[in-house]
């Protein structure tokens, strides 16, 4: 079991409020990603759940029991750190076994569990090596091995893939997701990378300035962003925002259209007219940065190759069903 509930969790460092009251319900076995820009409090929130920081106010319930006064080791959670935090003088075996050894488990059982964890993570040939003799991906797997061997109620991941190169990151992303599904253990994963968030999560928590902006499944966030911040944060390239007269016609202060929902027409009539200022040709996609006069700079995404170059005149026609409307407080207006 690993059901985690946050009730009005607050954290301040001196006069600085990092977490301004977070309420969250994390179901057993789900994969929840905390995502947000730097300094939004996502790592702090994770550390509060882990017990590495004390809460200033509110309650953290694990399986219905308030754990704010329980030391980290007794919460039954395990954590994978950004720097991996492997013990450099211990072998891979020693690293994975350390938590079990501290719990006073018998040697044979430790060996059995360590070898099972190593087998799951393809680490068996490296068990006697020191961390410095391993590659980045292998170190990462050791850190995960250290987490799974204790059979925790939940895994906490603190930006674990940010030190890996792009190719390895994609591979480890798949491995972590697969492993979590296989073990069925609750996981909380912190990242600033929205692609990681969208691909790995069952549910995403978008944090900004110490507040939870929205909590929902990846597609919910993409299709129905609760406010301007979520709309701008989820999706790449960013959603286009248009204010002024055009937005008023739609009964909103700001309207947003995702680049992929703008139809590009060469020399077309109607829609929003503008001049291509930069065109990025990726083969699979074409990204156009269009100077659309009164609407400002707009980004459009075309699937496939589109033979347009800087200086060309285009018109961009938004998909009327996919226009997001926001009121003056930035909240989404639902029809």
């Amino acid at each position: 079991m690993g059901q985690i509930t946050l009730q009005g969790v607050q954290k301040s460092f001196g006069p600085v409020h990092i977490i301004k009251g977070a309420d969250l319900e994390i179901a057993d076995g789900s994969f929840v990603v905390f995502v947000g820009p730097s300094g939004c409090g996502k790592t702090t929130l994770l550390r509060l759940i882990a017990g590495l920081e004390d809460v200033t106010g509110g309650a953290i319930l694990i399986d219905g029991r308030n754990v704010v006064d329980v030391p980290p080791a007794k919460r039954g959670l395990s954590m994978v750190f950004q720097s991996y935090a492997l013990y450099p003088h211990m072998s891979v075996r020693g690293n994975i076994a350390f938590g079990l050894k501290m719990a006073g488990i018998a040697r044979d059982e430790i060996n059995r569990k360590v070898e099972a964890a190593a087998a799951t993570l393809n680490l068996t040939p490296y068990l006697e090596r020191k961390p410095r003799e391993l590659s980045g991906g292998q170190r990462q797997r050791v850190a995960i091995g250290r987490a799974i061997v204790r059979e925790p109620k939940a895994f906490l991941f603190d930006e674990p893939l940010s030190n890996l190169d792009a190719a390895l990151r994609v591979q480890m992303r798949l491995e972590v997701t697969r492993l979590q599904k296989q073990l069925g253990t609750t996981a909380i994963y912190v990242t600033h990378d929205q692609v990681e968030a969208m691909t790995m999560a069952d549910k995403i928590v978008v944090l900004n300035g110490g507040k939870i902006e929205q909590y929902g499944s990846p597609l919910e966030l993409y299709e129905k962003p609760a406010n301007l911040f979520v709309a701008g944060f989820i999706g790449s390239p960013k959603m286009n925002f248009v204010t002024g007269e055009l937005a008023k016609q739609q009964g909103a202060t700001t309207i947003g259209v995702r680049p992929e929902h703008l139809k590009v027409e060469r020399d077309g009539q109607g829609g929003w007219r503008g001049t291509v200022s930069v065109a990025e040709h990726l083969g699979s996609d074409t990204f156009l940065y269009v100077d659309a006069g009164p609407q400002g700079m707009l980004t459009a995404r075309y699937i496939g190759e589109l033979d347009l170059h800087p200086g060309d005149q285009v018109s961009l026609i938004p998909d009327p069903a996919r226009i997001h409307r926001f009121d003056d407080s930035g909240k989404s207006i639902r029809a």
């Binding site: 882990a50 590495l52 030391p71 980290p72 080791a73 007794k74 959670l77 395990s78 954590m79 750190f81 950004q82 720097s83 935090a85 492997l86 013990y87 450099p88 003088h89 211990m90 350390f98 938590g99 501290m102 719990a103 250290r146 204790r150």
Partner: protein
């Protein structure tokens, strides 16, 4: 890669410095070797004559040699043990966030800046003096007899003074090492359920293995040649109880005026220091390899 021109330039520019250092080292060494083969006593001028290895035989068979060798090893070993055993907890304390930490740090480091003669005099006359010393006064408060440190425990007293001087060095090196210990490692240990003591034994102490090696190597180099503290406090006595090799050589040269024997002793000391260095690097130097 350096070009040939820059290599030539570098060598040309380095030559004067290297040459000067080389002369500075080789002239005294050559003269010492030369004197070691002479019968050369300052009380008997004009009688210098070549005696071969006689001075070495004389120095090595002198019972004072073995006694002073033993004193040297005891002194080095004890000071190393004391500075490290006390240095680790001190460094751990200084690594904490405490009110007035900067002042505490300064006070801990201060002994290192006091010159050896001064600190030895302070210990001898203000602290350990059996009549007017602070320790005697404290003993008197408890109704105990005062201890005459330099007569009753002379070598221990010298060890105490030198340890006091070198403790800051060990503490500083260990403190900087502690500050470089990855915070996330300690947190990982905390998540793994390690108690403070387990964290110290399994995480902190292994991390300190390398700085401890550095402390041992550097302190050994300096402790083998301790002189001022002995000269100022006990003058090598009572008897030979606080005479180490450095002091023995001094007494050969400037108390017995036997330059030949002292030179031979100096060369023996060089060989001994190299033997110690060889074993040290063998035993603890392995820690320094990355």
């Amino acid at each position: 890669m350096a070009t040939q021109q820059t290599q030539l330039l570098a060598r040309t520019l380095l030559t004067p410095a290297v040459a000067l250092l080389f002369i500075w080292m080789i002239v005294p060494l050559a003269l010492t070797i030369y004197f070691a083969t002479l019968h050369y006593n300052l009380l008997d001028p004009g009688s210098e004559s070549f005696v071969g290895l006689e001075n070495f035989r004389y120095f090595l068979t002198d019972p004072a040699f073995l006694a002073s060798l033993q004193n040297t090893l005891v002194l080095v070993g004890s000071v190393l043990a004391i500075t490290i055993i006390l240095g680790v907890p001190l460094a751990l304390l200084l690594d904490q966030q405490v009110v007035g930490l900067s002042i505490v740090r300064l006070m801990v480091i201060a002994p290192f800046f006091v010159m050896p003669t001064v600190s030895a005099l302070v210990w001898k006359n203000l602290l350990m003096h059996p009549v007017s010393g602070l320790f005697a006064w404290i003993a008197h408060l408890f109704g105990l007899p005062a201890i005459d440190w330099f007569n009753d425990a002379p070598l221990f007293s010298v060890i105490l003074i030198i340890s006091w001087q070198w403790l800051p060095f060990a503490t500083l090196i260990l403190l900087t090492a502690l500050q470089s210990l990855d915070e996330e490692q300690k947190e990982a240990a905390e998540m793994d359920g390690a108690s403070a003591i387990s964290t110290f034994i399994y995480i902190t102490l292994p991390h300190l293995a390398r700085p401890i090696t550095v402390v041992i190597l550097i302190e050994t180099i300096f402790l083998l040649t301790v002189f001022a503290e002995i000269f100022v406090t006990t003058g090598g006595g009572p008897g030979l109880q606080t005479t180490n090799i450095a002091f023995l050589i001094y007494s050969q040269a400037l108390i017995q005026y036997d330059v030949g024997s002292a030179s031979a002793g100096g060369l023996v000391a060089v060989v001994l220091a190299n033997i110690v260095a060889f074993f040290l690097v063998r035993i603890v130097g392995r820690n320094l390899e990355a």
